[in-house]
Symmetry: C2
Subunit: 352 residues, 2 copies
Amino acid sequence: VRSDSIEVVGWDIGGVNIKAVRVIWNNGEIAEMDVAIRPFEIWRQRDKLTNVLREIGDQLGVREKVAMAATMTAELSDAFRNKREGVLFILDAMDHAFPNTPVYLLSLTGDLVPLKESRHHPISFAATNWVASALLVAHKYPDCIFVDVGSTTTDIIPIRGGRVNAKGFTDMDRLVSGELVYSGVLRTNPNTLAKAVPVDGRMCRVSAEYFTVMGDIYIILGLLKSDSYTCPTPDGRSNSLEAAQERLARLVCTDLDALNGAQVFKIARFLFEKQLQMVAEALLQVLSRQEDGLQATLVTAGAGAFVAIETGRRLGMKIIDLGQEWGEKAIKAFPSVAVADILARRIDAGRR
Amino acid sequence: VRSDSIEVVGWDIGGVNIKAVRVIWNNGEIAEMDVAIRPFEIWRQRDKLTNVLREIGDQLGVREKVAMAATMTAELSDAFRNKREGVLFILDAMDHAFPNTPVYLLSLTGDLVPLKESRHHPISFAATNWVASALLVAHKYPDCIFVDVGSTTTDIIPIRGGRVNAKGFTDMDRLVSGELVYSGVLRTNPNTLAKAVPVDGRMCRVSAEYFTVMGDIYIILGLLKSDSYTCPTPDGRSNSLEAAQERLARLVCTDLDALNGAQVFKIARFLFEKQLQMVAEALLQVLSRQEDGLQATLVTAGAGAFVAIETGRRLGMKIIDLGQEWGEKAIKAFPSVAVADILARRIDAGRR
């Protein structure tokens, strides 16, 4: 580490995955980074959070006293009765895991607040991961619409004149405005996208069970590789093509003795289309309040960037794929990278 | 037990609940019955099935040699790779639990087949519970449309001239025809019914998590009592009004600090409406191929009979509520009661 460089750690504490990055920052840019993505279903084992945070810190070789900044979404989990309880639980876990480290939380207004202080108004720190990503994108692309299609949700954030021009700040207001779409390319149950799917020229209603997820659909369509299917499978079996086909057949209450691979593929293709429609409708809603509308450049990130890219292409938009620039792993942990960058910039500004 | 009466046991082996009934049959009718409903999620603990069947038998005081008949739906569970494997597993469990008892399986064509023989064509015994119910209803009401709204699914079966006039026999064909709607009043996730719900005059998109179920909606609306909410809650908390409100608030990613009871009630009312719409559309599809159409009498059963009754009322149909005649408990375990009645009638016919 050169003497004029800055070392920081960024966290994104989600309900299903915890993402962390150790960053060496130099000359206004990230010079090196080391990313960790750890599956952790908080509603199953919330009491292990402190230990898991510590383990991830060790894995990244995080030294005491190196400053950290964090975003979160895990507070929405039903491990907690409300968001206040969830945020406070996560703050405590960070504090216990890193007692001698300066830890900052990103607020919904984009401020970095010391952990102790953030306890006084916990709700300001709920569901902040999109704020970090949007701030970094705004820094790089002052006028664009940022679309991050993740494993679970999709963020659609307008950026104007280098500022985040979001209308909603709570999850609920963001769902209303179209800026948050609770649909992603891995964990989403296809029965939230369609009430019926085509089978042999007839529409077949779908089951309301947790039988299959969109990860199966994209394995079947060849749009995701097995090692990108990072969530658990609903039946605990593998994420091979055949196992994915079995799970999707169960969506229409049947099996591979009754449906062949071509029939299953057509169901998958229909569900991909339904997810594209859902993202396109929300994107058009958000664009409808922007002056430049469909002239805006679409900047994409996330495990499901291919959904954003296809949506933008269909609408004739100009597209910038952050995956090309930042690499696949950084893009999947984008909020943690972003909050690390924000912290490093603040430290740098303080030194000048 | 009088010498001319017949004692039999009926089973309905579902993926979430096992229902059983011991019946004393006399003069062509059920004279006495003792019902057991046991929650059992087969995908969590399939290897305990044999023991659970034995325990239920003991609970009902079932004696060796008393004949049994069974229907099933548990074979659809993703505990099994396909239906064939599921049916065979369930047959084995019945055989091991009751080795010295004559056990019959109801087939999709309405025949009672000895367990040993049923192994040769397992698929004929998959998803047969609706067949049992429909045969009993056809015996009592020779011309009607039978609507059974359960905890998880809804069956809509036309009965003509005392015969079951179904178009679909496999689950998938029944979903296509509208005779099976994978929606019920307890376990169904509301995010399969609506992509957005009203909040303060705006439509809010919904989350795609397992945060709440229709049982919560009907607790909030006062249409179900706590002791009728017989499935597990998504968060493991109680099925009190307040806990149900908390779960429903999470559907729009918020909590009771941000939404009040009146706002939550309005979301619940909207979701009830969406479920009524779904059942009405399927009912109209099924009726569209019946000559008498909306002139048909609607015969209802199931934990969600109130949904069938309201649907029939809106369509101006004549309604017969089996719950009034048979009592609430028998109605919730209707396929097991029906298959017991079918077996007793066959035994009686054999004696004449």
